[in-house]
Subunit: 271 residues, 2 copies
């Protein structure tokens, strides 16, 4: 039995970067207008009162994007990152979400192994503050093509190797279909992630892909078998919000109402 549209939409969360051209207020209102009930804010859009404005629009926060960026060229820079990550934890708690998404990279000097060690140390350092604020850390493996600019954690297997060094109540993983769909070990690793999946993100892979960092497609416009990946993620026990995170500047050309209607319709039909 397929879920009714109403039930299906109840898990849809709008990840704010999908409408980076809108203000927080504009994005939240446009979501509420089409019946979207969850919102995934990005830190660069936060301002005092954000929590109240999201709540007043009837939305709940699914996760906060994003902390991490642990590797740094020297101790002073690392201390700055650690401090910023503590702030991110506090912001997540204030927004009423218990998930902070971590981007784990890049390597400042091209030393992948060194950067991977710094990621591990950075997470270890952040955990006590996160625990204190009731926030779990979600390691999101990014697509291997983003290794130079964003993340030295590029497979779900690697993200789990990291997360499993800690308690499942403290560190988990965020699975984004766009970042992991190519992985020959996907089925195996999603199964392994059971109990640690803190979020599931969707968008689509355009062929050809117009841009390495910002060339994602709306669900249904690309080649990812999204229902299969959702089935794997749900098979591993995840029942939380599903964030639509389509990073593509071309979306700024749509009217906000049209964008939100498309997101909702594609989510119901293609995910």
């Amino acid at each position: 039995m397929s879920p009714t549209p109403e039930l299906s939409t109840s898990r849809l969360s709008f990840n704010q970067i999908t409408a980076d051209h809108l203000s927080l207020d504009e994005a939240v209102e446009a979501c509420a207008d089409v019946g979207i009930r969850w919102f995934g804010p990005w830190r660069h859009k936060l301002a005092p009162g954000a929590e109240r404005r999201i709540r007043d629009a009837g939305l709940r926060v699914s996760s906060l994007c994003r902390g991490g960026f642990f590797p740094a060229p020297d101790g002073a820079a690392r201390a700055e990152r650690d401090k910023d990550n503590r702030t991110a934890v506090e912001q997540a708690a204030e927004l009423g979400t218990d998930v902070l998404v971590l981007v784990c990279g890049p390597a400042p000097d091209g030393d992948l192994e060194g950067a991977r060690r710094q990621v591990l140390e950075g997470i270890e350092t952040l955990i006590p503050h996160a625990v204190e604020h009731g926030v779990r850390l979600g390691v999101e493996p990014l697509h291997p093509m983003m290794i130079a600019e964003r993340s030295v954690v590029v497979t779900l297997s690697q993200a789990l190797d990291l997360a499993e060094r800690f308690d499942a109540a403290e560190v988990g993983v965020v699975i984004d279909a766009y970042h992991v769909w190519w992985d020959p070990e996907l089925e195996l690793q999603v199964e392994r992630a059971a109990g640690r999946i803190l979020g599931y993100h969707v968008s689509d892979w355009l062929s050809p892909t117009p841009d390495v960092l910002a060339g994602r497609g709306m669900m249904g416009d690309g080649v990812i078998n999204l229902p299969r990946i959702r089935a794997l993620v749900e098979g591993a026990g995840y029942r939380g919000p599903i964030e639509v995170e389509v990073i593509n500047p071309a979306l700024a050309r749509l009217e906000s109402a049209q964008l939100m209607t498309t997101v909702r319709e594609r989510f119901e039909r293609c995910c």
Copy 2:
């Protein structure tokens, strides 16, 4: 002790796609002029007499690019691919190389698992013809960002899973630094590949990367730690030619002599 430039260059092979704008004759002559001794032709550039022209210029063929492309929408199309791959084997033998590079994909219908099965069956079908001609099949894992357009084999681990179903004298792997440098399992998998490495390719990863399929950089212009990967590959026992394969249309702007001089100089200095 670092190798002398002369010794270092003795393993350099020029992969023809690096100068796709030149004819076979032009490319071969330009290679010979700067002392390059190996050449990796592409099939779309072959014409009668190619073997003689390469040999007359004093070059040897390191491998032939490329066979594969096994997955097809129906039996007739698959039979066509099989036939074309038998031709590729014959061309490799005629060119005096014992390595045919295989591109294993893409999936005609987005079904990655189905396409992966067809790759396995295609290799199995091709082996007797390859053995008869003294040609080994080199499975080249391509970067995961190329999965939609080129290859459903996207990690060295996966390529080895495939190759290990057959005798090492029949099926091996081709390791291209550009395609595998991001892999957290790189060290482990290159070690595992010992005895099956049929080729090693180099280029560099530009940051930002201008194009998913044709945005590679000349060695030294990007962020890959090429000496480390070469050390891993040599640690696994590979001592054969190293192909410079830089797929980037911007290279067509260089005069052929300048291109070859750059290839040689960068190979000696950065690889």
